[in-house]
Protein backbone atom coordinates (compact mmCIF):
# COMPACT_ATOMS: atom_id res chain seq x y z
CA UNK A 1 0.00 0.00 0.00
CA UNK A 2 2.67 2.46 1.04
CA UNK A 3 4.66 1.74 -2.11
CA UNK A 4 1.90 2.87 -4.42
CA UNK A 5 0.75 5.83 -2.36
CA UNK A 6 1.62 9.21 -3.80
CA UNK A 7 1.40 10.51 -0.26
CA UNK A 8 2.25 8.29 2.67
CA UNK A 9 2.36 9.67 6.21
CA UNK A 10 2.50 8.05 9.65
CA UNK A 11 2.45 10.07 12.84
CA UNK A 12 3.25 13.25 10.93
CA UNK A 13 3.88 16.19 13.25
CA UNK A 14 4.61 19.88 12.69
CA UNK A 15 5.47 22.12 15.60
CA UNK A 16 6.16 25.85 15.62
CA UNK A 17 8.05 26.39 18.84
CA UNK A 18 5.84 24.94 21.56
CA UNK A 19 2.76 25.03 19.40
CA UNK A 20 1.72 21.84 17.64
CA UNK A 21 0.01 22.69 14.35
CA UNK A 22 -0.14 19.12 13.01
CA UNK A 23 -0.47 16.50 15.68
CA UNK A 24 0.41 13.04 14.42
CA UNK A 25 -1.61 12.35 11.30
CA UNK A 26 -1.65 9.31 9.00
CA UNK A 27 -2.31 9.66 5.27
CA UNK A 28 -2.46 7.45 2.21
CA UNK A 29 -3.33 9.06 -1.09
CA UNK A 30 -3.54 6.79 -4.11
CA UNK A 31 -2.88 7.80 -7.74
CA UNK A 32 -5.93 9.25 -9.46
CA UNK A 33 -7.68 10.11 -6.22
CA UNK A 34 -9.24 13.45 -5.34
CA UNK A 35 -8.39 13.76 -1.68
CA UNK A 36 -9.51 16.51 0.66
CA UNK A 37 -8.67 18.04 4.01
CA UNK A 38 -11.81 19.52 5.51
CA UNK A 39 -11.42 21.66 8.58
CA UNK A 40 -11.88 25.14 10.04
CA UNK A 41 -9.23 27.87 10.08
CA UNK A 42 -6.23 26.86 12.14
CA UNK A 43 -6.91 23.13 11.83
CA UNK A 44 -3.42 22.57 10.40
CA UNK A 45 -4.39 22.08 6.76
CA UNK A 46 -1.89 24.49 5.25
CA UNK A 47 0.90 23.26 7.52
CA UNK A 48 0.21 19.74 6.26
CA UNK A 49 0.09 20.88 2.64
CA UNK A 50 3.39 22.68 3.00
CA UNK A 51 5.04 19.53 4.32
CA UNK A 52 3.57 17.56 1.41
CA UNK A 53 4.83 20.28 -0.93
CA UNK A 54 8.35 19.79 0.49
CA UNK A 55 8.76 23.41 1.56
CA UNK A 56 8.35 22.74 5.27
CA UNK A 57 10.24 20.14 7.23
CA UNK A 58 8.22 17.66 9.30
CA UNK A 59 9.03 17.91 13.01
CA UNK A 60 8.41 14.21 13.55
CA UNK A 61 6.85 11.19 11.90
CA UNK A 62 7.21 9.51 8.57
CA UNK A 63 6.44 11.18 5.26
CA UNK A 64 6.98 9.92 1.74
CA UNK A 65 5.84 11.78 -1.36
CA UNK A 66 5.84 9.97 -4.73
CA UNK A 67 7.79 7.27 -2.93
CA UNK A 68 10.59 9.65 -2.00
CA UNK A 69 11.85 11.36 1.14
CA UNK A 70 10.86 15.06 1.15
CA UNK A 71 13.93 16.13 3.08
CA UNK A 72 16.47 14.35 0.91
CA UNK A 73 14.69 14.43 -2.45
CA UNK A 74 12.74 17.69 -2.06
CA UNK A 75 13.90 19.13 -5.36
CA UNK A 76 13.12 15.98 -7.29
CA UNK A 77 9.68 15.71 -5.71
CA UNK A 78 8.80 19.36 -6.29
CA UNK A 79 9.66 18.91 -9.96
CA UNK A 80 6.64 16.60 -10.18
CA UNK A 81 4.19 18.59 -8.07
CA UNK A 82 1.79 21.36 -8.99
CA UNK A 83 1.03 23.76 -6.17
CA UNK A 84 -1.74 26.30 -5.79
CA UNK A 85 -1.00 27.97 -2.45
CA UNK A 86 -3.55 29.51 -0.13
CA UNK A 87 -2.22 33.02 -0.84
CA UNK A 88 -1.91 33.89 -4.53
CA UNK A 89 1.69 34.57 -5.44
CA UNK A 90 1.45 35.57 -9.06
CA UNK A 91 3.93 38.10 -10.45
CA UNK A 92 1.85 41.28 -10.73
CA UNK A 93 4.29 43.01 -13.08
CA UNK A 94 4.37 40.17 -15.57
CA UNK A 95 1.63 39.54 -18.11
CA UNK A 96 -0.81 36.69 -17.61
CA UNK A 97 1.03 34.52 -20.15
CA UNK A 98 4.46 35.47 -18.82
CA UNK A 99 3.38 34.25 -15.41
CA UNK A 100 3.02 30.79 -16.92
CA UNK A 101 6.05 30.79 -19.22
CA UNK A 102 8.34 32.14 -16.49
CA UNK A 103 7.12 29.52 -14.07
CA UNK A 104 7.50 26.71 -16.59
CA UNK A 105 11.16 27.63 -16.92
CA UNK A 106 11.70 26.88 -13.22
CA UNK A 107 10.87 23.29 -14.10
CA UNK A 108 13.28 23.20 -17.00
CA UNK A 109 10.60 23.27 -19.67
CA UNK A 110 12.06 24.65 -22.91
CA UNK A 111 11.08 28.15 -24.00
CA UNK A 112 9.13 26.98 -27.03
CA UNK A 113 7.33 24.32 -25.06
CA UNK A 114 6.57 26.79 -22.28
CA UNK A 115 4.79 29.04 -24.78
CA UNK A 116 2.68 26.23 -26.26
CA UNK A 117 1.88 24.95 -22.84
CA UNK A 118 0.93 28.41 -21.56
CA UNK A 119 -1.50 28.93 -24.43
CA UNK A 120 -3.12 25.55 -23.87
CA UNK A 121 -3.48 26.16 -20.17
CA UNK A 122 -4.90 29.65 -20.65
CA UNK A 123 -7.45 28.08 -22.93
CA UNK A 124 -8.20 25.50 -20.28
CA UNK A 125 -8.80 28.05 -17.52
CA UNK A 126 -10.65 30.35 -19.93
CA UNK A 127 -8.22 33.23 -19.77
CA UNK A 128 -6.96 33.24 -23.37
CA UNK A 129 -8.39 36.69 -24.02
CA UNK A 130 -6.39 38.06 -21.09
CA UNK A 131 -3.09 36.44 -22.13
CA UNK A 132 -1.24 39.68 -22.79
CA UNK A 133 -2.96 41.68 -20.09
CA UNK A 134 -1.65 42.42 -16.66
CA UNK A 135 -2.42 40.29 -13.64
CA UNK A 136 -3.46 43.15 -11.38
CA UNK A 137 -6.86 43.91 -12.93
CA UNK A 138 -7.93 40.24 -12.92
CA UNK A 139 -10.77 39.33 -10.58
CA UNK A 140 -10.14 37.03 -7.63
CA UNK A 141 -11.59 34.08 -9.51
CA UNK A 142 -9.45 34.75 -12.58
CA UNK A 143 -6.30 34.99 -10.46
CA UNK A 144 -7.20 31.71 -8.84
CA UNK A 145 -7.70 30.07 -12.21
CA UNK A 146 -4.38 31.48 -13.39
CA UNK A 147 -2.67 30.07 -10.30
CA UNK A 148 -4.26 26.69 -11.02
CA UNK A 149 -3.03 26.90 -14.62
CA UNK A 150 0.43 27.75 -13.31
CA UNK A 151 0.34 24.66 -11.11
CA UNK A 152 -0.14 22.60 -14.28
CA UNK A 153 2.80 23.93 -16.34
CA UNK A 154 5.00 20.96 -15.49
CA UNK A 155 2.29 18.34 -16.14
CA UNK A 156 2.42 17.32 -12.46
CA UNK A 157 1.77 13.86 -11.04
CA UNK A 158 0.16 15.41 -7.99
CA UNK A 159 -1.66 18.74 -7.70
CA UNK A 160 -1.94 20.45 -4.31
CA UNK A 161 -4.65 23.08 -3.92
CA UNK A 162 -4.82 24.99 -0.65
CA UNK A 163 -8.29 26.51 -0.32
CA UNK A 164 -8.81 26.93 -4.05
CA UNK A 165 -12.02 28.94 -3.77
CA UNK A 166 -11.81 30.78 -0.46
CA UNK A 167 -12.87 34.38 -0.85
CA UNK A 168 -14.51 33.90 -4.26
CA UNK A 169 -18.10 34.75 -5.05
CA UNK A 170 -20.42 31.79 -5.81
CA UNK A 171 -20.21 32.16 -9.57
CA UNK A 172 -16.41 32.29 -9.57
CA UNK A 173 -16.30 29.28 -7.26
CA UNK A 174 -18.42 27.24 -9.62
CA UNK A 175 -16.10 28.07 -12.50
CA UNK A 176 -13.10 26.90 -10.49
CA UNK A 177 -14.91 23.75 -9.38
CA UNK A 178 -15.83 22.97 -12.93
CA UNK A 179 -12.19 23.21 -14.06
CA UNK A 180 -10.98 21.12 -11.13
CA UNK A 181 -13.65 18.56 -11.90
CA UNK A 182 -12.28 18.26 -15.40
CA UNK A 183 -8.78 17.71 -14.09
CA UNK A 184 -10.15 15.04 -11.82
CA UNK A 185 -11.94 13.35 -14.71
CA UNK A 186 -8.65 13.19 -16.57
CA UNK A 187 -7.21 11.21 -13.73
CA UNK A 188 -5.04 13.94 -12.24
CA UNK A 189 -4.43 13.28 -8.56
CA UNK A 190 -5.81 16.23 -6.63
CA UNK A 191 -5.23 17.03 -2.99
CA UNK A 192 -7.17 20.00 -1.71
CA UNK A 193 -7.98 21.72 1.53
CA UNK A 194 -11.19 23.54 2.20
CA UNK A 195 -13.45 24.74 4.93
CA UNK A 196 -16.44 24.59 2.59
CA UNK A 197 -18.33 21.37 3.03
CA UNK A 198 -19.97 21.72 -0.39
CA UNK A 199 -16.55 21.97 -2.02
CA UNK A 200 -15.43 18.81 -0.26
CA UNK A 201 -18.64 17.01 -1.22
CA UNK A 202 -18.41 18.01 -4.86
CA UNK A 203 -14.76 17.40 -5.53
CA UNK A 204 -13.41 14.80 -3.12
CA UNK A 205 -13.55 11.03 -3.53
CA UNK A 206 -12.21 10.74 -0.03
CA UNK A 207 -11.46 13.19 2.70
CA UNK A 208 -10.21 13.59 6.21
CA UNK A 209 -11.88 15.88 8.69
CA UNK A 210 -9.21 17.84 10.51
CA UNK A 211 -9.49 19.77 13.75
CA UNK A 212 -6.83 21.07 16.08
CA UNK A 213 -4.05 19.36 14.12
CA UNK A 214 -5.67 15.94 14.32
CA UNK A 215 -7.66 13.84 11.90
CA UNK A 216 -11.01 13.21 13.55
CA UNK A 217 -12.64 11.17 10.77
CA UNK A 218 -11.89 9.79 7.37
CA UNK A 219 -13.90 8.44 4.44
CA UNK A 220 -15.87 9.34 1.36
CA UNK A 221 -18.29 12.25 1.82
CA UNK A 222 -21.14 9.71 1.69
CA UNK A 223 -19.71 7.30 4.19
CA UNK A 224 -18.85 10.11 6.57
CA UNK A 225 -22.43 11.32 6.49
CA UNK A 226 -23.68 7.77 6.93
CA UNK A 227 -21.37 7.07 9.84
CA UNK A 228 -21.59 10.33 11.71
CA UNK A 229 -24.96 11.76 10.81
CA UNK A 230 -28.46 10.79 9.78
CA UNK A 231 -29.97 10.96 6.31
CA UNK A 232 -31.90 14.11 7.15
CA UNK A 233 -31.66 17.02 9.54
CA UNK A 234 -34.47 19.20 10.84
CA UNK A 235 -33.61 22.77 11.71
CA UNK A 236 -35.98 24.32 14.22
CA UNK A 237 -35.98 28.00 15.15
CA UNK A 238 -38.03 29.17 18.08
CA UNK A 239 -39.35 32.72 18.41
CA UNK A 240 -37.89 33.06 21.90
CA UNK A 241 -34.75 31.09 20.86
CA UNK A 242 -31.26 32.08 21.94
CA UNK A 243 -31.35 31.43 25.70
CA UNK A 244 -34.08 28.83 25.65
CA UNK A 245 -32.76 26.50 22.94
CA UNK A 246 -31.27 24.19 25.56
CA UNK A 247 -34.67 23.88 27.25
CA UNK A 248 -36.35 23.13 23.92
CA UNK A 249 -33.72 20.51 23.25
CA UNK A 250 -34.68 18.80 26.49
CA UNK A 251 -38.32 18.75 25.40
CA UNK A 252 -37.29 17.33 22.01
CA UNK A 253 -35.32 14.55 23.59
CA UNK A 254 -35.92 11.17 21.99
CA UNK A 255 -37.02 12.47 18.61
CA UNK A 256 -34.75 11.11 15.88
CA UNK A 257 -31.28 9.92 16.82
CA UNK A 258 -29.87 13.08 18.31
CA UNK A 259 -30.79 16.63 19.30
CA UNK A 260 -28.24 19.40 19.07
CA UNK A 261 -29.03 22.88 20.47
CA UNK A 262 -27.05 25.67 18.75
CA UNK A 263 -27.18 29.34 19.74
CA UNK A 264 -29.59 30.24 16.93
CA UNK A 265 -31.42 26.94 16.23
CA UNK A 266 -31.97 23.40 17.34
CA UNK A 267 -30.92 20.54 15.07
CA UNK A 268 -32.80 17.24 15.03
CA UNK A 269 -30.96 14.36 13.42
CA UNK A 270 -33.40 11.84 11.95
CA UNK A 271 -33.52 9.51 9.00
CA UNK A 272 -37.07 10.64 8.29
CA UNK A 273 -37.26 14.39 8.76
CA UNK A 274 -41.00 14.75 8.13
CA UNK A 275 -41.81 12.11 10.70
CA UNK A 276 -39.63 13.96 13.21
CA UNK A 277 -41.44 17.23 12.48
CA UNK A 278 -44.78 15.49 13.05
CA UNK A 279 -43.54 14.31 16.44
CA UNK A 280 -42.42 17.85 17.32
CA UNK A 281 -45.94 19.07 16.71
CA UNK A 282 -47.45 16.12 18.60
CA UNK A 283 -45.45 17.27 21.62
CA UNK A 284 -47.19 20.62 21.36
CA UNK A 285 -44.12 22.60 20.38
CA UNK A 286 -44.54 25.45 17.87
CA UNK A 287 -41.23 26.45 16.28
CA UNK A 288 -41.23 29.74 14.35
CA UNK A 289 -39.59 28.01 11.40
CA UNK A 290 -38.98 24.43 10.35
CA UNK A 291 -36.54 23.26 7.68
CA UNK A 292 -36.02 19.65 6.67
CA UNK A 293 -32.83 19.10 4.66
CA UNK A 294 -30.36 16.40 3.74
CA UNK A 295 -27.41 15.86 6.01
CA UNK A 296 -24.11 17.48 5.00
CA UNK A 297 -20.47 17.30 5.98
CA UNK A 298 -21.10 20.36 8.11
CA UNK A 299 -23.30 18.18 10.31
CA UNK A 300 -20.56 15.58 10.46
CA UNK A 301 -18.08 18.19 11.55
CA UNK A 302 -20.47 19.62 14.11
CA UNK A 303 -21.08 16.18 15.54
CA UNK A 304 -17.39 15.32 15.72
CA UNK A 305 -16.10 18.58 17.13
CA UNK A 306 -19.08 20.39 18.59
CA UNK A 307 -18.26 23.40 16.43
CA UNK A 308 -19.22 24.74 13.03
CA UNK A 309 -16.77 24.83 10.09
CA UNK A 310 -17.09 28.48 9.14
CA UNK A 311 -17.54 30.96 11.94
Amino acid sequence: MADQSLIFARGLVKRFGDFTAVDGIDLDVAPGEAFGFLGPNGAGKSSTMRMIGCVSRPTAGQLRILGMDPVRDGTRIRARLGVCPQLDNLDPDLSVRENLTTYARYFGVSRAEARTRADELLEFVQLSDRANGKVEPLSGGMKRRLTIARAMVNDPDLVLLDEPTTGLDPQARHLVWERLFRLKQRGTTLVLTTHYMDEAEQLCDRLVVMDGGKIVAEGSPRSLIQNYSTAEVVELRFADGLDSNAQYAAKLDGIGERVDPLPDRVLLYADDGDEAVAEVHRRGLTPASVLVRRSTLEDVFLHLTGRTLVD
Partner: protein, 268 residues
Protein backbone atom coordinates in the same frame (compact mmCIF):
# COMPACT_ATOMS: atom_id res chain seq x y z
CA UNK B 1 -10.39 22.79 -25.96
CA UNK B 2 -7.08 21.87 -24.53
CA UNK B 3 -6.31 18.56 -22.96
CA UNK B 4 -3.41 18.17 -20.60
CA UNK B 5 -2.48 14.93 -22.30
CA UNK B 6 -1.99 16.56 -25.69
CA UNK B 7 1.38 18.06 -24.83
CA UNK B 8 3.32 15.87 -22.48
CA UNK B 9 5.96 18.07 -20.95
CA UNK B 10 9.51 16.90 -21.35
CA UNK B 11 11.58 17.36 -18.24
CA UNK B 12 15.18 16.70 -17.55
CA UNK B 13 15.20 13.68 -15.22
CA UNK B 14 17.75 15.08 -12.85
CA UNK B 15 18.13 18.81 -13.36
CA UNK B 16 21.60 20.31 -13.47
CA UNK B 17 21.97 22.97 -10.77
CA UNK B 18 22.52 25.77 -13.23
CA UNK B 19 19.11 25.45 -14.85
CA UNK B 20 17.00 26.96 -12.07
CA UNK B 21 19.45 29.84 -11.70
CA UNK B 22 19.06 30.61 -15.40
CA UNK B 23 15.28 30.50 -14.97
CA UNK B 24 15.47 32.98 -12.09
CA UNK B 25 17.63 35.33 -14.14
CA UNK B 26 15.11 35.03 -16.97
CA UNK B 27 12.30 36.01 -14.66
CA UNK B 28 14.19 39.15 -13.63
CA UNK B 29 15.01 39.97 -17.24
CA UNK B 30 11.36 39.55 -18.23
CA UNK B 31 10.41 41.93 -15.44
CA UNK B 32 13.15 44.34 -16.49
CA UNK B 33 11.94 44.30 -20.09
CA UNK B 34 8.57 45.51 -18.79
CA UNK B 35 9.89 48.04 -16.30
CA UNK B 36 13.20 49.30 -17.66
CA UNK B 37 11.88 52.73 -18.62
CA UNK B 38 11.30 53.50 -14.96
CA UNK B 39 14.99 53.00 -14.19
CA UNK B 40 16.48 54.97 -17.08
CA UNK B 41 16.26 58.25 -15.23
CA UNK B 42 17.86 57.13 -11.98
CA UNK B 43 20.48 54.82 -13.40
CA UNK B 44 21.52 56.78 -16.48
CA UNK B 45 20.21 60.31 -16.90
CA UNK B 46 20.68 61.33 -13.29
CA UNK B 47 24.37 60.31 -13.11
CA UNK B 48 25.05 62.22 -16.32
CA UNK B 49 23.30 65.32 -14.93
CA UNK B 50 25.39 64.92 -11.80
CA UNK B 51 28.54 64.74 -13.79
CA UNK B 52 27.68 67.81 -15.82
CA UNK B 53 26.51 69.95 -12.92
CA UNK B 54 29.14 68.97 -10.39
CA UNK B 55 32.01 67.99 -12.64
CA UNK B 56 31.78 70.99 -14.91
CA UNK B 57 29.92 73.46 -12.70
CA UNK B 58 31.64 72.88 -9.38
CA UNK B 59 34.80 71.84 -11.20
CA UNK B 60 35.10 75.40 -12.54
CA UNK B 61 35.71 76.59 -8.98
CA UNK B 62 37.65 73.61 -7.75
CA UNK B 63 40.12 73.51 -10.60
CA UNK B 64 42.16 70.35 -10.43
CA UNK B 65 42.28 67.61 -7.80
CA UNK B 66 45.26 65.31 -7.38
CA UNK B 67 46.69 66.61 -10.64
CA UNK B 68 43.64 66.11 -12.92
CA UNK B 69 40.65 68.25 -13.80
CA UNK B 70 37.77 67.78 -11.37
CA UNK B 71 35.45 66.22 -13.97
CA UNK B 72 37.94 63.48 -14.74
CA UNK B 73 38.48 63.01 -11.01
CA UNK B 74 34.82 62.45 -10.14
CA UNK B 75 33.91 60.29 -13.17
CA UNK B 76 34.93 57.05 -11.40
CA UNK B 77 33.26 58.30 -8.21
CA UNK B 78 29.92 58.92 -9.89
CA UNK B 79 30.29 55.66 -11.80
CA UNK B 80 30.76 53.59 -8.65
CA UNK B 81 28.14 55.44 -6.65
CA UNK B 82 25.64 54.86 -9.49
CA UNK B 83 26.43 51.16 -9.38
CA UNK B 84 26.05 51.27 -5.60
CA UNK B 85 22.66 53.03 -5.79
CA UNK B 86 21.33 50.46 -8.26
CA UNK B 87 22.54 47.61 -6.06
CA UNK B 88 20.89 49.02 -2.94
CA UNK B 89 17.72 50.02 -4.75
CA UNK B 90 17.21 46.59 -6.30
CA UNK B 91 18.08 44.63 -3.15
CA UNK B 92 15.87 46.39 -0.63
CA UNK B 93 12.20 46.89 -1.53
CA UNK B 94 12.14 44.39 -4.42
CA UNK B 95 13.63 41.64 -2.23
CA UNK B 96 11.40 42.28 0.78
CA UNK B 97 8.46 42.57 -1.61
CA UNK B 98 9.16 39.21 -3.21
CA UNK B 99 9.08 37.67 0.26
CA UNK B 100 6.21 39.59 1.75
CA UNK B 101 3.80 41.06 -0.76
CA UNK B 102 4.40 39.40 -4.12
CA UNK B 103 5.60 36.17 -2.52
CA UNK B 104 7.44 35.36 -5.74
CA UNK B 105 10.16 33.60 -3.77
CA UNK B 106 7.58 31.29 -2.23
CA UNK B 107 6.33 30.51 -5.72
CA UNK B 108 9.88 29.68 -6.82
CA UNK B 109 10.44 27.60 -3.72
CA UNK B 110 7.40 25.45 -4.52
CA UNK B 111 9.08 24.64 -7.85
CA UNK B 112 12.40 22.78 -7.97
CA UNK B 113 14.30 25.94 -7.11
CA UNK B 114 16.38 26.25 -3.95
CA UNK B 115 16.95 29.40 -1.86
CA UNK B 116 20.56 29.30 -3.08
CA UNK B 117 19.39 29.38 -6.69
CA UNK B 118 17.25 32.42 -5.90
CA UNK B 119 20.17 34.28 -4.30
CA UNK B 120 22.48 33.43 -7.19
CA UNK B 121 19.90 34.33 -9.83
CA UNK B 122 19.28 37.70 -8.21
CA UNK B 123 23.00 38.42 -8.01
CA UNK B 124 23.63 37.52 -11.65
CA UNK B 125 20.75 39.72 -12.74
CA UNK B 126 22.09 42.57 -10.61
CA UNK B 127 25.51 42.31 -12.23
CA UNK B 128 23.77 42.52 -15.60
CA UNK B 129 21.79 45.58 -14.50
CA UNK B 130 24.84 47.36 -13.15
CA UNK B 131 26.99 46.58 -16.18
CA UNK B 132 24.28 47.86 -18.50
CA UNK B 133 24.13 51.16 -16.61
CA UNK B 134 27.88 51.65 -16.37
CA UNK B 135 28.41 50.74 -20.03
CA UNK B 136 25.98 53.50 -21.00
CA UNK B 137 27.67 55.87 -18.57
CA UNK B 138 31.18 55.13 -19.81
CA UNK B 139 30.05 55.64 -23.39
CA UNK B 140 28.79 59.13 -22.59
CA UNK B 141 31.84 59.98 -20.53
CA UNK B 142 34.11 59.26 -23.48
CA UNK B 143 32.54 62.29 -25.17
CA UNK B 144 33.34 64.45 -22.14
CA UNK B 145 36.92 63.30 -22.41
CA UNK B 146 36.59 61.86 -18.91
CA UNK B 147 38.59 58.64 -19.43
CA UNK B 148 42.36 58.80 -19.59
CA UNK B 149 43.44 55.22 -20.04
CA UNK B 150 42.31 52.01 -21.72
CA UNK B 151 42.46 50.62 -18.19
CA UNK B 152 39.03 52.28 -17.84
CA UNK B 153 37.67 48.96 -19.09
CA UNK B 154 38.73 47.49 -15.75
CA UNK B 155 35.78 49.33 -14.20
CA UNK B 156 33.58 46.59 -15.68
CA UNK B 157 34.94 43.79 -13.46
CA UNK B 158 35.42 46.24 -10.57
CA UNK B 159 31.72 47.15 -10.64
CA UNK B 160 30.79 43.46 -10.90
CA UNK B 161 32.82 42.84 -7.76
CA UNK B 162 31.25 45.81 -6.00
CA UNK B 163 27.82 44.50 -6.97
CA UNK B 164 28.56 41.16 -5.36
CA UNK B 165 29.91 42.93 -2.27
CA UNK B 166 26.81 45.12 -1.89
CA UNK B 167 23.88 43.12 -3.23
CA UNK B 168 24.46 40.05 -1.09
CA UNK B 169 24.56 41.69 2.36
CA UNK B 170 21.77 44.13 1.50
CA UNK B 171 19.56 41.32 0.17
CA UNK B 172 20.34 39.32 3.31
CA UNK B 173 19.26 42.32 5.39
CA UNK B 174 16.07 42.77 3.33
CA UNK B 175 15.28 39.08 3.75
CA UNK B 176 15.66 39.27 7.51
CA UNK B 177 13.23 42.10 8.27
CA UNK B 178 9.45 42.19 8.47
CA UNK B 179 8.83 45.89 7.93
CA UNK B 180 10.17 48.19 5.24
CA UNK B 181 10.69 50.92 7.85
CA UNK B 182 14.08 49.34 8.59
CA UNK B 183 15.20 50.51 5.17
CA UNK B 184 15.07 54.10 6.41
CA UNK B 185 17.77 53.15 8.93
CA UNK B 186 19.81 51.47 6.23
CA UNK B 187 19.63 54.52 3.98
CA UNK B 188 20.37 57.00 6.76
CA UNK B 189 23.17 55.19 8.55
CA UNK B 190 24.75 53.11 5.83
CA UNK B 191 23.93 54.22 2.30
CA UNK B 192 24.25 57.99 2.72
CA UNK B 193 27.53 57.90 4.72
CA UNK B 194 28.90 55.31 2.33
CA UNK B 195 28.13 57.64 -0.57
CA UNK B 196 29.38 60.83 1.06
CA UNK B 197 32.55 59.58 2.70
CA UNK B 198 33.88 57.15 0.14
CA UNK B 199 35.96 59.42 -2.05
CA UNK B 200 33.19 59.92 -4.58
CA UNK B 201 33.20 63.73 -4.54
CA UNK B 202 36.42 64.56 -2.66
CA UNK B 203 39.53 62.66 -1.53
CA UNK B 204 39.09 60.89 1.81
CA UNK B 205 42.28 62.58 2.98
CA UNK B 206 40.14 65.72 3.36
CA UNK B 207 38.10 63.91 6.02
CA UNK B 208 39.01 64.33 9.69
CA UNK B 209 41.23 61.41 10.68
CA UNK B 210 38.49 60.16 13.02
CA UNK B 211 36.01 59.65 10.18
CA UNK B 212 38.46 58.21 7.67
CA UNK B 213 38.01 54.62 8.91
CA UNK B 214 34.36 54.88 7.79
CA UNK B 215 35.67 55.26 4.26
CA UNK B 216 38.14 52.42 4.63
CA UNK B 217 35.38 50.16 5.90
CA UNK B 218 33.08 50.98 3.00
CA UNK B 219 33.25 48.71 -0.04
CA UNK B 220 32.32 51.78 -2.07
CA UNK B 221 35.63 53.51 -1.27
CA UNK B 222 37.64 50.46 -2.36
CA UNK B 223 35.74 50.26 -5.62
CA UNK B 224 36.15 54.02 -6.16
CA UNK B 225 39.92 53.79 -5.54
CA UNK B 226 40.28 50.95 -8.02
CA UNK B 227 38.06 52.65 -10.61
CA UNK B 228 39.85 55.97 -10.27
CA UNK B 229 43.19 54.30 -10.77
CA UNK B 230 41.71 52.61 -13.84
CA UNK B 231 40.16 55.65 -15.53
CA UNK B 232 43.13 57.87 -14.79
CA UNK B 233 45.63 55.16 -15.69
CA UNK B 234 47.69 55.24 -12.51
CA UNK B 235 48.36 52.97 -9.56
CA UNK B 236 45.97 53.17 -6.60
CA UNK B 237 47.30 54.37 -3.22
CA UNK B 238 46.87 50.95 -1.61
CA UNK B 239 47.88 47.64 -3.17
CA UNK B 240 45.29 46.43 -5.67
CA UNK B 241 45.11 43.06 -3.93
CA UNK B 242 44.01 44.69 -0.69
CA UNK B 243 41.14 46.49 -2.40
CA UNK B 244 40.09 43.41 -4.36
CA UNK B 245 40.50 41.15 -1.34
CA UNK B 246 38.38 43.42 0.82
CA UNK B 247 35.57 43.53 -1.76
CA UNK B 248 35.79 39.75 -2.14
CA UNK B 249 35.48 39.36 1.60
CA UNK B 250 32.22 41.34 1.59
CA UNK B 251 30.97 39.32 -1.35
CA UNK B 252 31.73 35.97 0.26
CA UNK B 253 30.40 36.85 3.70
CA UNK B 254 27.36 38.49 2.10
CA UNK B 255 26.69 35.46 -0.06
CA UNK B 256 26.85 33.08 2.88
CA UNK B 257 24.56 35.34 4.89
CA UNK B 258 22.07 35.77 2.04
CA UNK B 259 21.86 32.03 1.38
CA UNK B 260 21.22 31.36 5.07
CA UNK B 261 18.64 34.07 5.58
CA UNK B 262 16.76 33.23 2.37
CA UNK B 263 16.70 29.55 3.33
CA UNK B 264 15.47 30.29 6.84
CA UNK B 265 12.73 32.59 5.64
CA UNK B 266 11.50 30.16 3.00
CA UNK B 267 11.62 27.17 5.33
CA UNK B 268 9.07 27.31 8.12
Amino acid sequence: MMTTESTPVTRAADPPRLRPVVAIVERYLTLYRRLWQASVFSSFILPILFLVSIGIGVGGYVGSVEGVDYLSWIVPGVLVSTAFQICVGESTYPVLGDFKWVRAYHAMRAAPVSPKDIVHGHLIYMIFRVELAIAAFLLVVVFFDGLHSPWALATVPICALLTAAVVTPVAAFAASIESDSYFALLFRFVVIPATLFSGVFFPVEQLPAAIRPVAYASPVWHAVELSRAATLGRAPGWPILVHVGYLLLWAVVGLIAARRVFARRLED
